[in-house]
Symmetry: C2
């Protein structure tokens, strides 16, 4: 098994490496005829690299040495530092850390900063502890961040856990935790809420990183957010936003999950005339099929180079800049004395990863993992959907008979706004207009009461039912549709599978990705998860006539984000993060 965190302060290892560098002993591995991507000097230059154990022991002129236990002739390929993903959620890829490592190590990612925010919301400290345990023995260095906003909208929804300041302090005391994960409750911070101030202060006091989520923060709000102690952001929205945040001194975690922002970033760097050393790259949220098909960090490199950035600048952001941000002097450079986390790319346009070394171990070759994976950790957090089966009646909105009713609706997906609509009533139940759907959110943490209900407008016409237990950020069970029987079928399918996503049409389940681990992850192989998820994604896209820029699957999983302003259906009713109100009844009055 690879120990990617093995200590480099090993006298015998260092002695062996010094002997090899001096030519008194052979290298373990010698990479010949390659070009080193030197992210310190910005050069791509000829050099051979010798490894000893987990160490880079030497970079030296081509052909100077031939003596090594194993020699790789790279035939002009590029030796780059292993890629560092400065902020991400494994949960977004719906696989376990083990399967995630299996997928991204062959892509050249050797270190990730994981915010197990979703697992924390579902399973609390126990979940985060499991997350840390699940990283052990993997050929990927997983640095864990402590989720800072569990729940993200207290009072507006119920999640599986509440992290108070004490919980934060506990997580920050764990050696595997490198800092406070994205502080999302921006209002709480700039308005000095005791909870958020306490959480940010716990981060400052720990000496560890304090990472941010500064969506649309500008001017005095941004300054206040930073002076509170928050250091970074990945919620970039425009060139202007990027330039303001760089000028503010923030560390950026530029994310590939929102590709539309990358041209803005490149334009910002062009305007500034440099790529600041405060820029790192991250994936944030990548769906399983995208991760498998396009890749994570490697896709990021390709995108930025295609947009005209210098490959060495891009690599610097993905390696040395991140290593310096993370205060990891052992990472980020192809240099003697550093850890041998390396990826060999065919060239700096295609970025096809040929070989990967993690802490000196040849961990992947030509897209296939070579490193032995530990068995999946026993005691996966299963059975987290604690909810009895539901019935069609749960999806009927009772209303005063023989009348029409005035109903408050959730208008437009994503940036939602309040709407009003008059609806018919039949047999004591409200009749949904044909251009609307019902969204029902069931608490799945042991509260058996009725679901929170809301009517969605502006998504087009619905012809199918979608259900999901991935429902940011509390991950209750949400069902979207018009047919009560079909909605109950989807809900009960997901309850039975311990969570997941499913789509039904014509009274039958047409796509289903079971996610029994925390109701978020699958224990299956990346190929299986990808295929199941891709089927759900396609079926979901066909469920309504919506043709906006955001995919249906992102809309449904984000429809309960009550930390945002505007109406969002949660297990408590229709909540508005802008006003802090929750409406348990959608009916305003009988007409």
């Amino acid at each position: 098994m690879v120990d990617v965190n093995c200590s480099l302060a090993d006298p015998q290892l260092r002695r062996r490496a010094v002997d090899a560098a001096m030519g008194r002993a052979e290298f373990d591995v010698l990479l010949c005829n390659g070009l080193v991507a030197d992210v310190a000097t910005g050069e791509l230059r000829e050099a051979d690299v010798g490894l000893v154990g987990p160490l880079i022991a030497s970079t030296h002129p081509r052909g100077q040495r031939q003596d090594a236990y194993k020699v790789f002739d790279l035939e002009g390929a590029v030796i780059a530092p292993g890629l560092i993903d400065s902020h991400m959620h494994i949960e977004s890829s719906m696989v376990t850390p083990r399967v995630y490592a299996q997928t991204v190590v062959p892509q050249g990612t050797t270190t990730i900063c994981w915010d197990p925010h979703e697992i924390g919301n579902v399973s609390g400290l126990e979940g985060v502890r499991w997350a840390i345990e699940a990283t052990r023995g993997l050929p990927l260095r997983i640095l864990v961040e402590a989720p800072s906003c569990v729940p993200s909208a207290p009072g507006l929804e119920r999640s599986g856990a509440i992290f108070d300041v004490a919980a934060m302090e506990e997580m920050l005391s764990w050696p595997e935790v490198v800092g406070v994960a994205e502080v999302m409750d921006m209002r709480g911070v700039v308005n000095g809420s005791p909870r958020m101030s306490g959480i940010v202060n716990a981060g400052c006091a720990s000496g560890k990183l304090v990472c941010g989520h500064a969506r649309n923060l500008a001017g005095k709000d941004l300054q206040a957010f930073m002076t509170a102690g928050v250091e970074s952001d990945h919620e970039l929205t425009s060139k202007t936003d990027i330039i303001e945040k760089l000028r503010s001194g923030m560390t950026l975690e530029l994310r590939v999950s929102h590709e539309n922002i990358l041209p803005e970033a490149v334009a910002a760097f062009e305007e500034l005339g440099c790529v600041p050393q405060t820029v790192t790259l991250c994936t944030d949220d990548i769906f399983p099929d995208d991760l498998l098909r396009r890749g994570g960090m490697v896709h990021h490199l390709r995108c930025l180079v295609a947009l005209g950035m210098k490959p060495l600048d891009v690599l610097r952001c993905a390696t040395l800049n991140a290593a310096m941000r993370l205060e990891r002097r052992d990472l980020g450079l192809v240099a003697a004395g550093r850890r041998a986390d390396l990826v060999i790319f065919d060239n700096l346009q295609d970025f096809t990863p040929l070989e990967v070394f993690t802490s000196g171990t040849h961990s992947a070759s030509r897209g296939a993992l070579l490193a032995e994976l530990p068995p999946e950790l026993p005691g996966l957090p299963l059975h987290t959907v604690r909810r009895s089966p539901v019935t069609a009646a749960d999806f009927e909105v009772r209303a005063p008979d023989r009348q029409r009713v005035q109903v408050r609706t959730v208008h437009t997906p994503r940036a939602t706004r309040w709407g009003q609509r008059e609806m018919d009533v039949q047999n004591g139940h409200m009749v949904l207009p044909s251009d609307t759907a019902l969204m029902a959110v069931f608490n799945r943490y042991g509260e058996e009461g009725p679901p929170g209900l809301g009517v969605l407008e502006g998504w087009g016409d619905w012809s199918a039912t979608i259900g999901t237990t991935i429902l940011h950020d509390s991950h209750n069970l949400a069902i979207f549709g018009r047919n009560p029987e079909e909605m109950a079928l989807v809900a009960n399918t997901l309850i039975a599978s311990g969570g997941g996503m499913a789509v039904a049409r014509g009274g039958k389940i047409v796509a289903h990705v079971p996610l029994p681990v925390c109701g978020l992850l699958s224990p299956e192989s990346p190929e299986v998860v990808s295929e199941q998820f891709a089927a759900v994604r396609r079926a979901a896209a066909a469920a309504a006539t919506w043709d906006g820029p955001t995919s249906m699957i992102k809309l449904v999983t984000g429809a309960s984000l009550a930390c945002n302003p505007g109406p969002h259906v949660t297990d408590l009713g229709i909540a508005d993060g802008g006003t802090g109100e929750v409406f348990t009844d959608m009916i305003i009055e009988s007409v």
Copy 2:
């Protein structure tokens, strides 16, 4: 008193700063109408800066805010991060840390990394402990490094202390110590000597910095030095050397004490097309009069800009690059949430420091210190020259009578080589040829035996006597001259003053800087020390007809550097660092 290390993890401080940033409260200090030197984006741009306590609370558009306890109208001056000196020895400036702070804070230096190497050699762990204590309460942030090579030439000389691996581990366990100071015994490292391997490993194991001294290291030696765990270097000798070390992945501490190297560095950056983020700036060794007259780091900035570097690149090296190297996320940028270490310069050509803030305290203005200095620490390490008075006879070389003798000599200053010379004998004593001088080194750590003696050739004709207890690296008492009576006078003067430097001519002391603290430092004001030292420097320059590029004062203080190859006179005799031999008798044979 300023507490430059005050914690920023103070909930009340952060709350107050957030309130000020949001406009709910006034700033403590508001810097208006300035230009911020933004070393992240490389811009010089209009912005106002608000401070609260030790924090930068806000950077915001000019004129947006007026509310502050104290407002400074900067009239277009430049707001830069406080300068960080990445490697230096206070001892070279011959003043106490208190006086050093008094001198450099008004120049805009707010953080220094101090290797108390000389104090360690004289006074051991107790000296280093004193050094740390002497930094407390100063308006300058002094990060202490643990001297790694005490003594630097074991077996070839006797110093006041021996630091073994255990001593190193002890120092590294102290919170004030940020790492292992320049590892000078390069051969020991690359040849795997147990002592040096142990010391470097102790550094690696501590997780703290491991700094280097890699003079003339190249090729496999450089690679071996780095793979042993050494990360940085300041011993740069040429453009080629600089480029090789940058490519090796070393962090450079480019030093202004060797100005001749700066054009080489600028040429290296031009050739690379960038100034890597692995470049920091340092002063290393600055004489007291130079420090007062030209300045330390501020002189560095002026030199590099005069050589054509972009001012923002120069400042970035002196601030953000150093802060990132030091893993100090609170330093190096004018950015909300960071520590308010700031220097206001008139412009980026002259770099005249107008105002200085250290941890938010207005610590200097127009060249004068404002911050209150703590009293000099009681218990200064005085009386470290433990040597009885000497006599003229100590400077007579006894030789077999009525013969001529063949003598091994120390030829050429600095890069010394072995010479041979036939000399006359009169009255049982060797007669020095007129173009030579005697160098006598007395142990000053309680060993009362005869001095180590050697004859110096190639310095020109001598007309005076020089004495010093600053004698790298063991700092014994060295006397250079031809007249035994005058040499005894100088020696006894220095013994009486507890150390220092002195020059005698015509049988009288003509210049004397008493350095009673460890025999290295003066407790006097910077002006007094400068004046005394300048007189010694002038008198020393006139002592011989030497007209090489290196000043006489550097030659004499370096004449005992037995860690270097070639002959060097130490308290044990004439030692050769290249062969490890020590000759106690300079006379080879009677002729």
